[in-house]
Assembly symmetry: C2
Homo-oligomer: 323 residues x 2
């Protein structure tokens, strides 16, 4: 939940004049997302989303993100697209920040995940991976192995100890294991990944997936790494139990579009440990570095420590419902 | 900024079935307001606001508030109205809370107040007071003199000292003065007042007032008390200076609809002290009682201490731009 930037009516009116949707009838901050400021615009041409990019998003990456949304939508992926102004530009400035108007996407993200949701997710994720293959721009994953090490160094190992005794040593040991075993370049299929496909980034309407949002972590990386991010985010129950049925449905529907290679299947437990590590580390960083007065809900890093430990104990991909 | 209650898609679908607007295409929490949870609904029949009433609003008062919005709208006041379900009812339950769907009101609240805004406000406020005269239901003001004393007792005078040395004694002394001098019942015109008409509750479009929102403090009290709440909320500059031009415009446009009596004019400085005290005390209460982790921005009580002191020094209503 976050709106970081207060947009005045005068600033908005001047900004909106660059577009074709007429006068803005309303602009309300949306209490979702934690990285950017998002507003719901009501216009004569219907609703739109106004996004102001706050400091986490590098302005130099925005052409990659906005171009990706356009490319995916053209390729049949259901996702929002940036609206071009009268000058043909999608990216401009508002309140000193990069800003874009994005088309409105129907649907709501699911609060209680069902196996059917996971099945829909698998299809949508595979469609995203397929469509991404023809996207020309590239962006390295800033939160891959090297990024994890740097992030942990900045988090200060002592702080990890304060969250849970022994956590610093566990992370260091795990980073060594992952560093040695991580697939070499070219060993597994790669391409555009979403890299943050949590339930609040997947909309459903009438039980069907109506689209994907929030491509601001998208990058080039292993396709199977995107899958295990989803296993972690969608297939654990609130009590911590891994739901093998949900995993099976997710993987089955994904494979109906793009079958996993034998190497990818074998790598899943290791990749899943890496994916758990990535979110453990960013949550740990936020846990330690968010000032008490900040108006954001900080997520408990231990949720991802639990997931990491689950995958460390996996002996066989049967644990994910794969044969 | 606040959304307190997380509404699941299943709960929302069941709730929405009671209405005639078809399937809900989207439901996003709005990062405005601090008392209730508000969501923007997109439906086939256009946008609506869904409000869940959180603990500050007494359920027994809701028929008064919802009935008032209907009455005012019928009487020509621009304000949202509760939408009736297929069963004819406007008030129902969602996630264990009283909930209502309210019509969408175009416009945005002004971030930088101009004298023209104050002029529009005066007209709208007088229109509200006139229309309220024919409303049948009554509600006592729970934040009038007796309420202030009780609130201060609960805030703990020592906490006031921590905010500013001498503040506890100042408030006690001021409460005595106000208690002795406050107009007796019937001495001044009374009726329905909004009681919280801050800039974020007044929408403008194209420079004109497009409507008033948030009637959940509305009650029966002195009409002039509503005016001085507005003087405090609209006519002080960010640097603390009182803008006599804005006050003059507000009062002039109000009086073009309903001229103030001589007694009301004479009482303005005292009423303005009372209005400053009311918001000083609620802000002090929130300042002292909001836990550090709460995701609300607590407003500085000293802003209203400054306003209180301004009105204590007023010798003549010329200070408000009145002759």
């Amino acid at each position: 939940m976050a709106v970081y930037t207060e947009v005045s009516d005068e600033d908005l009116a001047a900004f909106a004049a660059a577009y074709d949707f007429g006068e803005v009838a309303s602009c309300k901050g949306i209490a979702e997302g934690v990285e950017n400021s998002n507003y719901m615009l009501q216009t004569a041409k219907g609703p739109f989303i106004l996004t102001l990019y706050e400091k986490r998003v590098k302005p130099a990456d925005l052409p990659f993100f906005l171009g990706l949304m356009e490319h995916l939508a053209r390729s049949g992926v259901q996702c929002p697209v940036p609206l071009k102004g009268k000058d043909g530009e999608a990216l401009r400035t508002l309140c000193g920040r990069p800003a874009a108007v994005i088309s409105f996407l129907s649907g709501m993200w699911p609060r209680r995940i069902s196996a059917e949701h996971c099945s829909e997710l698998g299809t949508a994720l595979a469609g995203l991976h397929r469509a991404g293959q023809s996207y020309d721009l590239k962006r390295a994953n800033s939160l891959s192995l090297a990024g994890w090490r740097e992030l942990f160094a900045r988090t200060a190992p002592q702080a990890a100890e304060n969250v849970e005794p022994g956590l610093g040593a566990l992370i260091n040991g795990e980073l060594d294991v992952l560093g040695k075993a991580w697939p070499a370049d070219g060993a597994l299929p790669s391409g555009i990944i979403h890299a943050d496909l949590f339930p609040d980034n997947v909309f459903f309407q009438g039980g069907k997936c109506s689209g994907l949002i929030d491509f601001y972590f998208a990058c080039n990386d292993l396709l199977a790494y995107d899958i295990v991010i989803c296993l972690n985010a969608w297939c654990f129950e609130p009590d911590g139990a891994f739901n093998i049925t949900k995993a099976n449905r997710l993987l089955a529907s994904y494979q109906a579009v793009r079958p996993l290679t034998a190497e990818e299947k074998r790598a899943l437990p290791l990749l899943a440990r890496g994916a758990a590590m990535r979110f453990l580390l960013t949550r740990l960083y936020d846990w330690v570095n968010t000032p008490p007065g900040a108006m954001v809900k900080v997520k408990d890093p231990r949720e991802y420590l639990h997931k990491l430990n689950f995958h460390r104990a996996v002996q066989d991909i049967g644990a994910y419902g794969l044969s």
